[in-house]
Amino acid sequence: MHELRISGLGKGFKGKTAICEIDTVLRSGVYGLLGENGAGKTTLMRMLCGLLEPSRGQILCDGTEISRLGGQYRRLLGYLPQNFGYYPDYTARRFLRYMAALKALPMDYAERRITELLELVHLSEEENKKLKTFSGGMIKRIGIAQALLNDPEILILDEPTSGLDPNERVRFRNIISSLSKQKTIILSTHIVSDIEYIADEIMMMKQGHITAEGTVEEIVASVGKYVWQCLVTAGEAESMRGKYVIANLKNQQENVLLRVISTEKPCAQAVHPEASLEDAYLYYLNMCDE
């Protein structure tokens, strides 16, 4: 088990601030990083991997800065970037062999591991096909396989389910859940359902800040009083759409059932339904100031 301590972390790119100031500690478990596009998730993940140098602050792994650990830290890592690059002319097995070579795994160990992982991601039958013939979902699965090659203790997955169909998403969740509890798994997404059931802790990001942090239950409990449900007319629904954040809208004959995120009661007949992580995401995305 390793501890990643992020202190005062900031990153800017040519006048634009991607990460403002982040302080958090990551230990073993699954951490879900939720945020919209441009929130800073990918930048944070790249800094955790050591690909980007922070503009300020530091990231410590077990008390030592990751830049000083160098290869020692990278050996603990498995990383799947959002835009996963690969050699199109390589077959699946050859590509995994190449990644195993980069991870300095001996050949015989690598072969066994590749066979196991191809089985895990259900690509054993396609192992000798060129990657350029693979679909987007299959490429992602190869990406997950390469991230797991060295049995990493810290697994960083950037939008791992983008491009996957629902079946593949479920398969991916099961893979993550099956990994040892002693690992630190950080995965970013803007799809709430991908991490709702597997994350031990959630971090909500917005404009380079972490706006909320805690277990799913804690985060959901924090927004319970801002989630409303009401049955209104179509006209009322239309006016409320311009005024409040609408989490869900469902037509029921002549009326409309609205799920609203608001700090004030939107209408007289509004009640509090059971809140969900998606409600929390919408609240922290639209209504919470850093």
Binding site: L52, N83, A104, M107
Partner: protein
Amino acid sequence: MDSKAIKDMFRTCETDENFKKYLSSEKKSAAIQALKSETARKTIVPRASKLELIRNQLWFMDKRNMAFQLLCFLLVILLYTAFGQRLGSNDIFTVGAIAAALFSIFAALTFSRDEACGIREVAGVCCFNNRQICVLQMVLHTSINMMILAGMILIIGSNADRSMYEVGIYILVPFLVTGCLLYAVLLSGAGKCGNAVLSAIGMFMAAVFAAMSSVRKIYEQAAMGVWVIILVIGALFYITETVLLIRRVEKGETLCMN
């Protein structure tokens, strides 16, 4: 407290009978058992030796490039062994200049391939970072190129009425000048337009050197000083650009795809 003081303290504890009274043998056994379980649970991932690392990099280098280089070299050998005596004094160097210019394409193609595929973002988080991989690739390419160029220089030198030193300069200059131009294209970011552009530039330079070598005077003794100056400047630029390329791959901002 310094290390010696800490060691002395532990030595005192080991011999102090009063201290031993407070040591719980049960807790000690439990701690040792917990350590053993943790050690047994932890998966030990084996690591490849340095020789395996180099062998792997050689194995995964683009074989088509290497095959093409070897083919060029074999053609040069064939040409000179079969027709060497019949070639004119300038023609001897024409073939060598074309081949040397073409050889410099391959290192650039490897670099360009990695950029185009966007593999550096995932490759840079492995045991070796991008700088180390790039350096290893450059060293391997340069070693292969130098061996082949040395072979060419020997063959051409044995057919030409010049010293090996002069022949070496006539061969290295096209190699370095073409390489400098290709690396400059890569550094400018225009290299992302792909292998076809880089290959076209390399072939264009080969054609330029072929055309130049038809001018009798450039291989005369009087022009040797100019060749040496171009060689030195070319070598300096080549080394500088290689260092800049390696520094470029280190910078996360440029290698990450978006």
